[in-house]
Subunit: 413 residues, 4 copies
């Protein structure tokens, strides 16, 4: 009688509620939403919420847009109310005056989302709703405030303290493994046999962060290879037919793929927590591990070379030098690195450790970086210091080897 | 490898973080809080949050009050900022202008609570923090806005969709049963043997609502007796040495005790959900059940008699008549029943089914209602209708028998 | 902290013991076995057992045969001892004399197997050991007594009361699903997508029997289709792209594939228990189910036609008639049906319900029965009666339709 | 959907079978048993087994004795059959002849027990049946062969490889904790609060061995105190209100109480396995632990002093000397120590480490050993060597300190 089992069983309850409610109430969802926001929602809230979510799921994109317009514009704040309650609060701060101000500031669409979220499975559906919304934003920028509210709510709901780190392996339910295949964003998984090669060998690990209300949906996951020495190519790491080692033999943990799974949670960052906790778990289980590195793509390299009208190098050394220089010197207007993966790991307190030519010769790898990859190093003793330097002075900490490579490229150019 | 197990293991992680952080950083918690709210919090957030929560736990009541004053007044909204951003948003609604307005409206203490909540176990500590705050509110009403923010956050975090209903029985962990003994608020549990009599017999059930981040703490629980016929006395229901029946023999489920467990969640209602879901679960498991009733105290009866200078009746019939009249006619200024338990069940869509004299002859039962108790009936086919009538017209639906008893009392008085 | 988790963790312990013991002790396994049977085994038994099992696993087939010869002939009973202790027991029945007799009758290889079984994972390895032995028996019939002892032990260890029925579905661990693909013996599963079609739709079920000491290995499993009406073809049942129905809509449960998984447990029957318990579970969960039937192959039909020099029929009707006649009339010398699948289901109390031509047009289906299949019906009210008739009078109970078809074939021939 | 949950659910199935079968079949249980042993048992075996077990449970002691007489004498071997099949096997060893011999040697009561064991919950009932039998043996020694068969079966069923070590703590189900209170045999547990003191503090542990078919019944359990230094008194160890330490601070694990739980499993030893595995688990979790000792009673000391007409010493030193001499020198006719606890631990490879006067001043402790207790030391590096010496030469290994104390006593006497 695990909590997990209980969570699963509530999904059945949900289906049951669905089957009850679907047929009867023919009112438009906007009207149902207003009803749910009213007092009567307390007793029949579950039925109303189920009905609205089921209606939403059946909508086409235009109907969805109309529903979002309703949420954005009909369930909006009343500026005069904000000002009136603010004045009253300033005049006489009290429970009542603050409550009135807080209520006036929060558009009713936030309360609608909370009330929808009272039925099992609703959380995942609301996340999917924001995914739809994000798809519409470019052409319908007036919906942006609704997105701001979704993001605000989700930041609270998906607070780090509510998330659970779980290992994902060959003992995991097939329905979760399905998601790993679907969501792997860095090095695509072709088949169940390919998945097995990522999960089953003794020198492979995978971890995901989960939210209890979406127990079969990872939010983000990381794939880890346990190796002897720091690897310089993803082909070698993922080679079919390679010999595996025992976990105890490894001295290095390589984070070679990190994938966000929920488009509807865009902008809510989990990666930092995930890496920190995986480093901590692996350290405890495998005391022989002394290096924690990534083997990361350099997605912006070729674009940067093109933008700067630089030729792509034709030797491995040249490739390394150019990649090093890009990582250390290519900056945005705000002074931060151009490369998004670099910003992520450096922001977490990692440092640039090594660059490798010919390290990802897949079509994608060649297209984005001519095959070059980079190891970022997570050195527990340096993480805080690196992070400070990066956050305050935008300093990119790198190994002397990478600095030397970069200098080489400078001289060349 | 259950989710539950994973949750438990994170508690150990927390203890480990605690042991690391406690000694080193001597800054006052207010300063640590400001640091946690800053950008650096991203990397070292877990350590800072742990440190602040540990410091808080060791504070005396004056230090706590000082910390609450800091949260209330130092992490307060800036009214001018609210007005400026509101004007900008009105002028030109956009993602940026709405984001600025939303940020200005939300005091930073809310973000502080969310950042504290990133470490395992924090949720329970924040709930305990609000409990402390509630104790201080009467003498320090200026702290009320902080309480409003806590309640707002908790309403979001303890959204119905995140809660899990779990049976509590003699197979439950002792650490959860400990809480049942501690939190039973209606009919005190004296000992483990007394608890066993409430949980182990085939005709007893208990259910609690849990939040995944506080997995060993029920939020609210209900004790249920399965009986033949509607019982008229709690003594009979809880009699030591009584004969139990099998669950299949029962035609009635009696909710004889509902206890809220978390003082820090005051004002966030779970009872309605709990009863609805337990009715639904019991119906599915035991199709022979045809009545769902409470056996409830009448906490305001004697107080009302005293306030109206009425003599306490000296016959069972008189007792019944007076109780019926109280439940049907004693109203507050707003037209709702004086009795809080009546308001709760009637608001949920129940109806007054029967009243009984001498039904709770404990010291407490005699003091509050001269021993009288009441059955509220949850009739699935009437719940919505009852609720509507009560919500819109404040009508108290009652059985003809209770109405007749009440009329009797009217004639007598 | 589930029992399951504990079982898993013991597997790690086992690996740890393995890593300790493997290198040091170079004695031949026969000598280690004698040591394990001695008194010293009590303290160092776990190490010895691990060592012997690891040595065994690394043996080639000749070494295995030699080890089996050792077990058969060196750890054999001593007939004189049997007679002497039997005489003493007859003379003076007592605890001591019976103990001596019982010890003399049981060859020491049985105790060896029990002592090997003290380490985690050993049970599965002993089952695999018998699989090896069964492969050698034909050419080495002198090993038969060892097989008798293995089977005797396994009958005790795999006693029905120790087995657990578990649903197998898309939430099951991939490592168990792996086994389903590997062990499906009736209608091969080609791929994970094929497996998904068997497990994931709402109108499909699968159940396996498991032993707690082999928690990730099903012993036997059955695949079930929930249908409206009794199906007459496996192609329709397993059609890619078919529409599924909800479980609640089904009136019939079809057991269309039953597979034994462990060659080393040959001769120990689980099928009867499995079907009975699945019928019982499905009845409880889905009260609308009124038919429990199989859709079974007729593996001996073509062989029988050939043996009787009968032409294969060339119309569906002819096919049905011939199949009916075969099932009802083709008997072995002992009076039981020639067809092994028929013997299994009829022995369990099922009856022949309907025969279908063109029902399995796979290569295998055509080869064995020209495409014909049969529904056996499990009618709870008739099972005991059918079984009695079959067990005492060898009567094959069949529907009037099948009896009529068979009569048709009789007339034709 | 854990294995554990599945096990639990089968218990409900059992109750359901019980309710079905109880009323109808009025035949005497002996007749039912013969029926169960027949061929018909295959289909209706579950019903018959349930019926027999339920009938047995309702018997008075005379009826039980009669049922045991039936099993002993009616389901006995046939000596002529044994001899005939033995001759045939000797003549022509084959599968058939060995099978016949094995069948002849095994009394049918063993098969009866196996067939009874096919229903959920039966294993525990069969263990309880043997408990009844053991109570009758003294007055009915003719039943001894039945006991030999029970013990033989249980040795196979409760093979070490089938048992699971589980921690027992304040998160364990109350129904298991109930058993700990009931079964604690060394230092009685008075109440749930007393139990909490044994389980909840950070420096206490408890572990039990469980069989999957009796998942809520420990077979044996050990209580462990984590301490700094080796303790010399159980009063100090169990003092109410003592200060606990963290597990990480401890250098010593003290096994201060080991209790067998199932009288019906008498003679089947689990203690050795339990201690070994707990030592292994604790070592892994708490690397700072360097001593593994017991704090054990000396149950035979006073009896031995009396038998040897020796005065009880009146100083602590004298007490220690006498206890040391008893442990080292008091031997049975077979050369093994008189003291049963000493035989157990020394046989496991422990050594006598220290003796303490006034270490258990409870009534029981004073009565059996005048308050003296002993630490046996489990030194992983010496266990095999100690065991060998004890097993082959009956040498009691002791610390020099204990040897010196014993010599002192020798000189005194």
């Amino acid at each position: 009688m695990s909590l997990f089992g209980d969570l699963i069983s509530t999904v059945f309850e949900r289906r049951y509620l669905s089957s009850l409610s679907g047929q009867s109430d023919k009112r438009p969802p906007q009207e149902l939403a207003i009803d749910l926001l009213g007092n009567h929602g307390e007793v029949s809230g579950g039925t109303l919420a189920t009905l609205i979510l089921d209606r939403y799921a059946a909508m086409d994109i235009d109907q969805k847009r109309a529903f979002f317009e309703f949420m954005t514009h009909e369930l909006e704040i009343d500026p005069e109310q904000v000002i009136a309650t603010l004045e009253a609060y300033k005049e006489m701060p009290s429970k009542g005056s603050y409550l009135a101000f807080a209520a006036a500031c929060e558009p009713r669409r936030q309360e609608l989302a909370r009330r929808l979220n009272q039925v099992p499975g609703a959380t995942g559906q609301l996340v999917a709703m924001r995914k739809d919304l994000l798809g519409l934003l470019r052409d319908h920028p007036d919906l942006a405030p609704l997105d701001v509210d979704f993001k605000h709510l989700f930041s609270s709901w998906f607070n780090r303290g509510f998330l659970v780190l779980r290992p994902i392996n060959w003992s995991s339910p097939a329905e979760i493994l399905d998601k790993i295949i679907a969501y792997e964003a860095v090095h695509a998984i072709d088949s169940w046999d390919d998945l097995r090669r990522r999960l089953q060998p003794a020198d492979r690990r995978c971890y995901g962060l989960f939210h209890p209300a979406m127990a079969d949906e990872p939010l983000i996951f990381v794939e880890v290879a346990l190796t002897r020495g720091v690897p310089n190519s993803v082909q070698v790491l993922l080679a079919d037919g390679r010999d595996s080692i025992t976990a105890q033999e490894a001295d290095t943990a390589v984070f070679y793929s990190i994938s966000n799974c929920q488009a509807g949670l865009a902008g809510i960052s989990f990666g930092n927590s995930l890496i920190k906790q995986v480093v901590s778990d692996l350290s405890r289980d495998l005391p022989a591990l002394s290096n924690f590195v990534t083997l990361s793509p350099i997605p912006g390299l070729n674009r940067w070379l093109d933008a700067n009208a630089q030729a792509k190098p034709d030797t491995p050394e040249g490739e390394q030098a150019v990649a090093a220089r890009y990582l250390l010197e290519a900056k945005r207007a705000d002074g931060l690195p151009v490369d998004p993966v670099a910003r992520f790991h450096l922001g977490n307190g990692a440092q640039v450790h090594a660059v490798h030519a010919g390290a990802d010769i897949s079509e994608n790898g060649m297209a984005q970086s001519n095959g070059a990859m980079v190891n970022y190093l997570y050195d527990p003793s340096q993480i805080t210091k690196n992070h400070e330097k990066f956050a305050t002075e935008k300093t990119v900490v790198a190994s002397s080897e990478v600095r030397a490579l970069s200098a080489l490229a400078d001289n060349d150019s």
